[in-house]
């Protein structure tokens, strides 16, 4: 133990663990629901296995729920690509603000800290007042704990879902409800409202246009790539308007 350390490893761990308890509750239940959804609605065998593998690699709520939809419909990877890009871009911005914090950690540790960032983990990492190297250890414990809660939640849900007779008609609405919940939270902040409206409008426009030629089912399968392209173009065009209210110190 080096001289500058104020906290021993066990006490840093205890701190990370006690901070992570609310995350345990949240990830446990949300993950469980995602696991049930995969086994009941995904239409695949060995759903517990795929639940464990996918939750361990994605580490993302939206992607975990979308995984069920993709598995059901075998959506082309191009559409998947755009969603993954949009969902993860926010985390790379989180990463930017953690560059300093993670500096000097071992390569594998840093790779894991980056891969494991979620909204909840990030919020706790930013709030933590420890200093490196304790802070880095704190972040590592926290990332690992939150990751564990998520994987256990999703896998347990898939087990229970495939063992018990869950009613399945309409259970897919859980994904819609999840996105509505995230959207509701984001729209509490005024700055997010115009981008949300632009996103919704772009998606409706593309879906309606495609449906006229391809029919609704095909239009839905094809809508993501053109929507994201239109969306980015619209956001760039509207940049002056959108940034005006929130012109913080830059």
């Amino acid at each position: 133990m080096n001289g500058s350390a104020t906290f021993s490893a066990p006490s840093v761990f205890r701190r990370a663990f006690s901070d992570s308890i609310p995350v345990m509750a949240g990830y446990g239940t949300m993950g469980f629901a995602a696991g049930v959804l995969l086994s009941v609605h995904g239409g695949i065998a060995n759903s517990a296995f795929w639940a464990a593998v996918s939750s361990a690699t994605f580490i993302s709520g939206p992607l975990q729920y979308l995984f069920v939809d993709w598995v059901r419909s075998s959506l082309a990877l191009g559409g998947v690509l755009f969603v993954v890009l949009c969902v993860n871009l926010r985390y790379s911005l989180y990463g930017l603000s953690l560059l300093e914090t993670f500096r000097g950690t071992r390569l594998w540790t840093r790779l894991y800290l980056i891969a494991g960032i979620t909204d909840e983990t990030y919020a706790l990492e930013v709030a933590c007042r420890l200093r490196p190297p304790e802070k880095q250890r704190y972040c590592l414990y926290l990332t690992a704990l939150d990751h564990l809660y998520w994987v256990v939640g999703v896998t347990a849900g898939a087990f229970v879902g495939s063992a018990l007779p869950f009613p399945s008609d309409g259970i897919g609405f859980a994904m819609t409800a999840l996105f509505l919940v995230i959207l509701t939270d984001q729209c509490r902040e005024c700055a997010n409202r115009i981008p949300a409206v632009v996103g919704g409008a772009a998606a409706v426009a593309v879906f309606v246009a495609l449906a006229a030629f391809l029919g609704a089912a095909k239009a839905r399968a094809e809508m993501l790539i053109p929507t994201m392209a239109l969306l980015v173009a619209a956001l760039l065009l509207l940049r002056g308007r959108i940034e005006r209210p929130g012109r913080e110190a830059e």
Binding site: A33, L178, G200, I242
Partner: protein, 114 residues
């Protein structure tokens, strides 16, 4: 489950996992030393997230249009009612699991009625 389904699963897991990690690692790869991203990049990163979630909501509803033709199901009444209930619960109570489970249960009841 056919073999092509297994292949698809493997492809999605590898693809999404690797891509997610790569995107999250971008700032470390590009700005590994020091520095700020161009303003346009941080702008897009900030606004794309709420916009993409709104896209995904529409993507979900587009699925109902194709699976349950509106004319045969009272103009998607079940989807609209359950969606409004989810948002209202969440706006008021802010407990994700409550909003999602009540919204989904309500939907599962409604689709049996309509």
């Amino acid at each position: 489950m056919t073999d092509s389904k297994t292949l698809y699963l493997v492809a999605v897991v590898v693809f999404v996992g690797a891509l997610s990690w790569l995107i999250r690692a971008l700032p470390f790869l590009i700005f590994g030393g020091r520095g700020e991203p161009p303003k346009i990049v941080s702008y897009i990163g900030r606004v794309l997230s709420p916009a993409a979630i709104a896209v995904l909501v529409i993507y979900c509803y587009a699925g109902y249009v194709s699976e349950r033709p509106p004319r045969e199901h009272l103009g998607m009444l079940a989807e609209v009612v359950a969606g409004v209930a989810t948002v209202a619960l969440h706006w008021r109570w802010r407990v994700p699991m409550l909003s999602i489970s009540v919204g989904t249960t309500l939907y599962m009841i409604l689709v049996r009625l309509f």
